[in-house]
């Protein structure tokens, strides 16, 4: 009686092939790789082998660019790699199931081709690989890699004196040694590890970086720069914003009206304005608020602003966790006679913080990206150094800006993407623990 329209999905009884989930991601890497390999082989066959030392885009290179041949060959190779996945069925179901879908696939292919080919053209094909100044890069339309090589130390340390750079490296090493075992759930001695990381390491790092003690001469913060400043601002911001955020979140949930109002006022004020105005406030207004004659380090001013800003966002994240704790937990803690401090530190906060780990990591990622704003108040973080480098007369070339931003962007991306992957890992890990 009822006329049931047959959809393609209904007509096909069962999916007879098996696509492993991991195959999807593997393909994603394989497809562009296959295209690049094809291109290289084709180029070699044409007798225009790419020499890394070549600096000019000669006729041989002009012939050596992406074209339809390499695209088709690449696609064939991908299909070959997919052999064990019964490619025909997979392609039909995922790329060409309907006419509309096929059109979308074509559009997607064009976008993908444009992106991959554009990036490959810029970063490899037309890039400059050797040279000692902008002269070598100026004629080429690709990246100016010798510039990055020459400026690499500056991008990493800023103007930190060359003979003391081992101190920065040692700090990094200590941070990695402290952080990596802390981040792997299976490694024991978490408490001792945390005491080292949050109690001893900051003191060590301070004396190593700032100096001013026998054996470690003082290095003023105005010489710091590059990735060093980015990491210092981010890690101090993260470390300071966390306890501040907890206090503000507890304040906002407090029974005491005045504590509540003070917390709400601070949180809503900071969250309602852009970070750049908070940085202006800390860099321009803070010196005015101090007693006459006092001065405060420029980097420290930025740190105050960043920590305050991050704390307000952290407080809201943690408040979400506090609200998710069932009332019964609070009441049970009261019932066994715990006081406020014990109740919060032993019962409520451990559960609440665990719930909002992804949110906390997201705040950290946001903070890490936001550190780039300190360049507006005159500090030279990684982006600031790259930006300043654009006007360097020695390395003047049209593609320098793009090269620098790609390099800085890649470094920022590695940190942020790494953090977000780690957050996802912790989330899964916690979900598994809950199941048991």
């Amino acid at each position: 009686m009822v006329d049931v329209a047959m959809t393609p999905a209904m007509r096909r009884p069962e999916k007879v092939y098996s696509v492993k989930r991991t195959a999807d991601t593997r393909l994603l890497i394989l497809a562009p790789l296959a295209m690049i390999v094809t291109e290289l082989v084709l180029g070699w066959l044409r007798g225009s082998y790419l020499t890394p030392g070549a600096t000019s885009a000669g006729a041989a290179r002009a012939a050596f660019s992406f074209d339809a041949t390499s695209l088709l060959t690449g696609a064939t190779l991908v299909a070959f790699f997919m052999g064990h996945l019964q490619p025909v069925n997979w392609l039909r179901d995922n790329l060409f199931s309907t006419v509309g879908n096929s059109v979308m696939t074509l559009v997607g292919l064009i976008i993908m081709y444009g992106l991959v080919a554009g990036l490959f053209d810029f970063a490899v094909l037309h890039a400059t690989w050797q040279g000692s100044d902008g002269e070598a890069c100026r004629p080429n339309t690709g990246a100016c890699w010798p510039m990055v090589e020459a400026k690499f130390a500056q991008f990493m340390y800023g103007r930190y004196p060359t003979e003391y750079r081992w101190r920065v490296d040692l700090t990094y090493l200590l941070a990695v040694l402290g952080l990596v075992p802390l981040m792997i759930p299976r490694v024991p001695f978490k408490l001792q590890n945390a005491i080292f990381m949050f109690g001893i390491f900051p003191i060590l790092a301070f004396f190593l970086l700032v100096g001013g003690v026998p054996g470690l001469p003082h290095v003023a913060t105005e010489y710091w720069g590059g990735l060093l400043v980015t990491l210092v601002v981010a890690s101090v911001g993260i470390t300071a914003s966390f306890p501040l955020g907890v206090i503000l979140a507890l304040g906002r949930r407090s029974r005491m009206p005045l504590a509540r109002w003070a917390s709400v006022g601070l949180i809503e004020f900071v969250r309602g304005v852009p970070l750049i105005t908070v940085l202006f406030m800390s860099s321009v207004m803070l010196p005015l608020f101090l007693p006459p004659g006092w001065s405060i380090d420029k980097l420290l001013r930025a740190l105050v602003g960043v920590a305050l800003f991050a704390a307000a966002y952290m407080a809201e994240t943690i408040r979400g966790g506090l609200q998710a704790i069932p009332r019964g937990q609070f009441e049970a803690a009261d019932a066994i006679g715990l006081n406020y401090r014990q109740k919060m530190s032993m019962i409520v906060l451990p559960q609440a913080l665990k719930l909002v780990i992804p949110g906390i990591v997201n705040s950290f990622i946001g903070l890490f990206k936001d550190t780039s704003l300190v360049l507006i108040i005159g500090l030279f973080d990684l982006l600031g150094i790259v930006q300043q480098n654009n006007t360097d007369q020695k390395w003047l070339a049209p593609t320098n800006a793009m090269t620098g931003y790609l390099f800085a962007g890649f470094i920022f991306w590695i940190f942020c993407f790494g953090m977000s992957r780690y957050s996802a890992f912790v989330e899964r890990n916690l979900a598994d623990t809950e199941k048991r």
Partner: protein
């Protein structure tokens, strides 16, 4: 051990023990709370007193005036883009207003485009087409994990500033070197030149026609809903409405003898003339904001659509709704309930992030305030004004959100 810490009698027990030692009050929760709050207030008052007295002393020492009197003084600097009349003899107050308008307009245009892009990418991530879904994922993962400021710099210094000059002159012959875009638009290092509409007499009727069409559509939608409720007969509201809203103004346009003409940018001897120019700074900030915010909106949209339970879709299919109807009547309304609160906070983020425009030279409110601060030295006043405006926008938006959430909240049995 820890059980012994709280030995104080509960407040209720005061009746049983009429005589209490003074010290026992110190252990009472209420007393402690009052003491703590008094300390807090004293600390805050002391902090503000210290700040104000120090600031006064510092300002006096540096010979800096205070108060908002400077807003009436002549600013003396130029602003590259202004939507209200402004020249370098205008006042500081006027300059600040110019910046405010630049921020508001940038935010409005940015929100419009980022919504379109964000929804497109968010839906694309859920596409059954493998390639489209992967491209959307790559876009989100790359753009979300790079600082916005870096993206703005990239658009401005690495892309727009590297564009060709508008014209080249070889042997006295002027040749256009701009990129020609569809619709008569030209792109070069001076900005994006678009055709400018000119309103000739009679053009106002097009606007009237548009208003009439919108009112008509609303009335028609009501009538159609009432009829469907009464008789069960549906009416193609969307198609008829779209036809009216597009068709009626178009018809008026031709009846009135085409009263809107477009002035196209043309090549002069030294520069492009005519048309409407979008400064490269504006374009760079807009591109940065739109792409960055869209990557967040895409995730919100995806979460919203995934958040609608599968049972809802299956139930809709079961009662015989078509795929489009399922989407329009069942999925989207429920997804919007999840999407709208975080969407608003992202609109707010875009507005606040537009303050980075100054870094590439776009004269938004923050940049203008920075210039005012540099010239007058009245940091406290300018930053307070700046924060006040952003705070007002944020608080108004969150007040609206609270109202909206209450209205939209799921009415459960």
């Amino acid at each position: 051990m820890t059980m012994t810490t709280e030995q104080t009698p509960r407040p209720r027990s005061t009746g049983e023990t009429p005589r209490r030692s003074l010290s026992s009050y110190i252990y009472q929760r209420e007393t402690r709370e009052i003491i703590f709050q008094v300390i807090l207030v004293v600390a805050i008052v002391a902090l503000f007193y210290m700040i104000i007295s120090n600031a006064t002393a510092n300002l006096r020492a540096r010979n800096i005036a205070s108060g908002f009197g400077f807003l009436g003084n002549v600013a003396g600097f130029d602003i590259s883009q202004s939507w209200i009349s402004y020249s370098n003899v205008s006042t500081y107050g006027r300059a600040f207003m110019v910046g405010l308008w630049n921020t508001v307009i940038l935010a409005a245009i940015g929100i419009f485009f980022t919504t379109i892009l964000g929804f497109t990418v968010g839906i694309a991530r859920l596409s059954s087409n493998w390639l489209i879904a992967k491209i959307a994922t790559i876009y989100v993962e790359v753009v979300r994990n790079c600082p916005l400021l870096l993206q703005m710099f990239l658009w401005y210094f690495a892309v727009l500033k590297q564009l060709p000059e508008p014209l080249s002159r070889v042997d006295g012959v002027v040749k256009s070197t701009s990129y020609a875009l569809p619709g008569g638009m030209l792109l070069n290092t001076r900005g994006l030149f678009t055709p400018k509409p000119e309103w000739l007499p009679g053009a106002e009727f097009i606007l009237y026609a548009l208003i009439v069409a919108i009112i008509g559509t609303v009335l028609m939608a009501r009538w159609a809903k009432a009829r469907q409720m009464a008789t069960g007969q549906p009416f193609p509201v969307f198609l008829t409405g779209a036809a009216a809203i597009i068709g009626l103004p178009l018809l008026t346009y031709f009846i009135m003898g085409r009263p809107v003409q477009f002035e196209y940018p043309e090549l002069g001897r030294f520069n492009l003339s005519g048309g409407f120019v979008m400064l490269p700074e504006f374009v760079a900030v807009l591109l940065g904001l739109v792409f960055y915010t869209a990557s967040y909106i895409a995730e919100i949209v995806r979460a919203g659509i995934v958040g609608v339970s599968k049972g809802q879709k299956e139930a809709a299919m079961a009662i015989g709704l078509s795929k489009g109807q399922t989407l329009r009547l069942v999925v989207v309304p429920q997804a919007m309930r999840i999407i709208i609160p975080p969407l608003t906070s992202n609109y707010l983020n875009l507005t606040k992030n537009s303050s980075l425009g100054g870094a590439v030279g776009y004269p938004d409110m923050t940049q203008v305030a920075g210039t005012i601060n540099n010239q007058t030295g009245q940091a406290i006043e300018t930053i307070l004004m700046l924060m006040g405006v952003y705070l007002t926008i944020s608080l108004l938006t969150s007040a609206f959100m609270n109202w909206f959430n209450k209205r939209m909240a799921l009415v459960e049995r």
